[in-house]
C-alpha cells in the first residue's frame, strides 16, 4: 500500500473544513476558527468601538452583562468600563478553568476569545443610539421617579424603545452563548463541570465588575 501523501490529505481536509463551516458555527462558535492573538486584536477593536459608540449615547457597560443608558461621562470612563468587564470575566473564567480543565491551555486564548465574545454589545449599542429610544428611556425614568418629563416624547419613540429592548435582550443571550463557547474551546472544558463552573464564574465576575466600576466612578467623578 502506498504511503499517504501529506499535501493531498491536507487539501482534502481543507476542502472538507470549508464545506462544513456554516453560518451557525460562525455565529455561535467562531472560536473553532479564530482564537489567540488574532481574536484578541479583533475583540479589542470591537470593544473599543463599542465604548466609543456607547459614549455617544451615554450607554454604560456597568457590569459584565449590563448595558444601561446613564449620565454623560468622559470617553475614558466608557473605555475603562468595557476593559473592566472583559478583565473580570476573563480572569474569573481562567481561575475556574484551572480547577475544572484537565488540559493545558494558553492565557492568550482565554483573553482573546473572551474579548471577541463581547462583539454582540457593539450591535446592542447601535440599537440604543436612536434619539427615540433615549427620549422614551428618559420619559420612563421621570415617570418612575415621579418627576416631570424633561422632553416630550413622539409616537414612534415607543417603537424604537420596544425594538431596542428586544434586540438588546437577544444580544445578551447571544453574548452569554459566545462567552460559554469561548470558555469551553479555550480551556477544553466539557459537560456538567463546564456548565456549573461557568454559571458560578459568570455570577462572580458580574459582582466583581459591578464593584470595580462603582469604585472607579466614585474615585473619578
Amino acid at each position: 500500500m502506498k504511503p499517504l501523501k501529506g499535501k493531498v490529505m491536507t487539501n482534502i481536509e481543507l476542502n472538507s473544513n470549508r464545506q462544513n463551516r456554516t453560518l451557525a458555527q460562525w455565529l455561535f462558535n467562531p472560536f473553532q476558527f479564530i482564537a489567540g492573538g488574532s481574536a484578541l486584536l479583533l475583540g479589542l477593536t470591537v470593544m473599543l468601538a463599542s465604548a466609543y459608540l456607547g459614549s455617544l449615547s451615554n450607554s454604560h457597560f456597568d457590569g459584565v452583562l449590563d448595558l444601561h443608558i446613564g449620565k454623560a461621562a468622559p470617553l475614558w470612563i466608557f473605555l475603562a468600563e468595557v476593559v473592566i468587564d472583559w478583565l473580570c470575566i476573563s480572569i474569573v473564567l481562567l481561575i475556574a478553568a484551572l480547577f475544572v480543565s484537565r488540559s493545558s491551555f494558553r492565557v492568550v486564548d482565554v483573553f482573546g476569545t473572551q474579548a471577541l465574545a463581547r462583539a454582540p454589545y457593539l450591535l446592542s449599542v447601535l440599537v440604543l443610539m436612536p434619539k427615540g429610544f433615549i427620549r422614551f428611556t428618559k420619559y420612563l425614568v421621570s415617570k418612575m421617579t415621579q418627576q416631570a418629563p424633561v422632553e416630550a416624547i413622539k409616537n414612534t419613540d415607543v417603537l424604537f424603545f420596544a425594538a431596542g429592548v428586544i434586540v438588546a435582550i437577544l444580544m445578551i443571550v447571544w453574548m452569554i452563548a459566545l462567552i460559554y463557547r469561548a470558555y469551553t474551546v479555550s480551556c477544553n472544558t466539557k459537560g456538567g463541570k463546564a456548565i456549573g463552573s461557568f454559571i458560578a464564574a459568570l455570577i462572580i465576575a458580574e459582582i466583581l465588575s459591578k464593584i470595580a466600576i462603582l469604585t472607579m466612578l466614585q474615585l473619578a467623578l
Partner: protein, 91 residues
C-alpha cells in the same frame, strides 16, 4: 484495499486480527492478534495522528493548515490522548 475496521459492526466490541497473509507469496498466518493502539482509533482520529506527525508535532502548523484555531486542534489531540490511554493501559 479496504480500510481496517477496529470495531465490530454487530456488537460494537473491539475487533482482533485472526488471519494475516502475504500478498507476494500467499503465505497465511492464523492466530489471535491484537490491533496496535493507534489502529484502535477511529479513521478520523488516525488521519489526525498522521497529519500531526507530518506537521512534525506542531499544533500551530496543524491549525494553520486546517484553518482551525489552535485550541480547537489542541482539544482534538487531548481527546485522542484520552481515548488512547485506556487502550494502552489494557496492553
Amino acid at each position: 484495499m479496504k480500510k481496517l475496521p477496529s470495531i465490530c459492526p454487530a456488537c460494537q466490541s473491539q475487533l482482533n486480527i485472526k488471519k494475516l497473509s502475504c500478498q507476494k507469496c500467499s503465505t497465511e498466518i492464523e492466530g489471535l492478534f491484537e490491533l496496535p493502539a493507534l489502529a484502535k482509533l477511529s479513521g478520523e482520529d488516525q488521519e489526525f495522528v498522521v497529519q500531526f506527525v507530518e506537521c512534525s508535532g506542531s499544533l500551530k502548523e496543524m491549525a494553520r493548515l486546517q484553518k482551525l484555531s489552535y485550541p480547537t486542534v489542541r482539544n482534538r489531540l487531548d481527546g485522542i490522548i484520552e481515548r488512547i490511554k485506556p487502550v494502552e493501559n489494557q496492553e
